[in-house]
Amino acid sequence: MKIAPRAIVAGAVVALLVALPLVVKSSFALDILIRILLFAFIGTAWNLLGGYAKQFSLGHAAFFGLGAYTSTLMQIDLGISPWIGMLAGGVAGMLASLPIGWLCFRLRGPYFTIATIATAQVLMLVFLKLRDFAWGAEGTTIPNLGNAPLMMQFDGKAPYYYVVLLLLLLALAITAWLERSRIGYYLVALGEDQDAAEAVGIDVPRVKRDIFMISAFLTAMAGTFYVQYIYFIDPNTAFNFSISIEAALVSIVGGVGTLLGPLIGTVLLETTSALLQSWLGNLAGVQVTVYSVILMAVILWRPTGIMGFLAELNARRRAKRVSS
């Protein structure tokens, strides 16, 4: 009974998202929508590890960059389609999460966070040095083949929109499935209290490792998509710290450990930033200043994010209905 109306709402929202490019034709607006879906996707991937397991990574740029470089290297050096490169990049990200997790999970709380920052920075510095293998600091442009759907290159922006929409739906589906599965309950348990989770027999290191692998796989796919979209790659784009920051930010503002939190957080932050930009122009620092004020406000007043706030409103309304 309860599932049916929810499914209808979800179906309607997806239908709306699918229909959007039919109405929105301006490439500026589509660009903003693509950014929203992309960061919602990365945020949803981050949320698996950061939101449910409460392992607050600020190093997800590592996987974003590895995904971007894997597909680009395969495309330019071997002529392999980025569609395959995207999966290969996901696998590369997933494999990289094993040693990174092995190192970083030795630390807890803020020091886990710092260690993840360091790993992403090391990777960026390494790619800056890899002059012969990966173009070093100059980076490279991705050859423009015109309209080549098999090489993930399209004429207009609408096809890119659908690609990233599919990615986001994939991440949401995985999250929804995990929420209902055994591993989902393990995640929430270890997020609440690692020692207690271990005490009741959960294999904490294994659960952390598995969720980190999934999160890294998805984040790496986002990297491939992004460089295909902007036709350019260099270490500073691919491993930029701001990617790690935004992944965490959208999830926290939207509500960590909730299915739709990252999406809602991204919509709020990216629209704010787009409005600011059209109002103030491209003034350095404005966007992140506003982001950090929002982040601080959320932390001080609503640590459960927008989703937590909505749940609270809902509960209050229900309580009122019962009492009246």
């Binding site: 190192l103 030795r106 360091a118 090391v122 040095k129 601080m296």
Partner: protein, 289 residues
């Protein structure tokens, strides 16, 4: 060859003194308040800009502005404890990590807007001076910075050992509950810890100014170093942070000398990752929390 190594060690040791001021602050806050201050580097940056404006507007020597920077940043530290950090104490990791992280982003980006990303430098009479010992040279500005940094660390050490307030801080860092039962007012202790830590960051800013440019992101360099030093020197351990900072300054300098100008950070990060792999509890041993 020996001379090149010796010169690199001297350069690294001298800048390591500055790293020490920053990491002692980070480790002090972590030890006492149990919070990692992601914004510590930004207070170095604020110290640098205060020093810069005092030098360009009033012609104050950076060493004199030390006496302005330290009290101002002490006050900022107390305010931050009272109005921000106090509100997230006792909560879970998320607000504790991301509050100071948001503060760091905020300070950097407000500075970007107000001060532009331009590099600012202060040139003093001793900026280009150097002492020569055989083939080695020791830049005077860096030597002064190192000396003052070591002096301040020593004063802090004595303060923590001998005064009641210092002992209260050490007690609070060892066991907050018991300290509270012994009649120690945690809020006062926390405010002083924040104040001292930020004053040290401010001092680092003043000391850097004669030989290091100020720009909005400058703090990031120092805070990353500090984090590595604090892990390396065992979390919450002041002496450990000091020694680790000096070692890291040297490691960075050797990395720059022998691998390449942009490789200092790689060496430092690899040092961090190696520490995590081999001795996650830090060089001084003890618990990782």
């Amino acid at each position: 060859m020996v001379e090149i190594v010796a010169q690199a060690v001297i350069n690294g040791l001298l800048i390591g003194g500055i790293y020490a001021l920053v990491s002692i602050g980070v480790t002090l806050i972590f030890g006492v308040v149990k919070i990692v201050n992601f914004a510590q580097g930004e207070f170095v940056m604020i110290g640098m800009y205060i020093t810069f404006f005092l030098a360009t507007q009033l012609g104050l020597d950076p060493l004199v502005s030390l006496f302005v920077c330290m009290p101002v940043l002490f006050a900022i530290g107390v305010l931050i404890q009272q109005f921000l950090i106090r509100r997230v104490l006792g909560l879970n990791d998320l607000p504790q990590i991301f509050l100071t992280f948001a503060l760091s982003l905020l300070i950097i980006n407000i500075s970007l807007m107000l001060l532009t990303p331009n590099y600012r430098t202060v040139h003093t009479g001793y900026s280009d001076e150097a002492l020569h010992f055989g083939g080695l040279y020791v830049p005077v500005a860096k030597l002064i910075a190192f000396g003052v940094a070591m002096l301040l660390s020593g004063v802090l050490w004595a303060f923590l050992r001998t005064t009641d307030l210092g002992k209260a801080m050490r007690a609070a860092s060892q066991n907050r509950e018991v300290a509270q039962l012994m009649g120690i007012n945690p809020n006062r202790v926390f405010a002083v810890a924040l104040g001292i830590a930020l004053a040290l960051a401010g001092a680092a800013g003043s000391l850097l100014m004669p030989f290091y440019p100020a720009y909005p992101m400058v703090g990031q360099v120092f805070v990353l170093m500090a984090f590595v030093a604090v892990v390396l020197g065992t979390l919450g351990n002041v002496a450990g942070a000091l020694i680790a900072s000096l070692l890291m300054g040297i490691a960075e300098s050797l990395g720059i000398q022998f691998i390449g100008a942009d490789s200092g950070l790689i060496v430092v990060f690899l040092l961090l990752l190696a520490t995590l792999a081999l001795r996650p509890s830090g060089l001084a041993g003890g618990r990782t929390r």
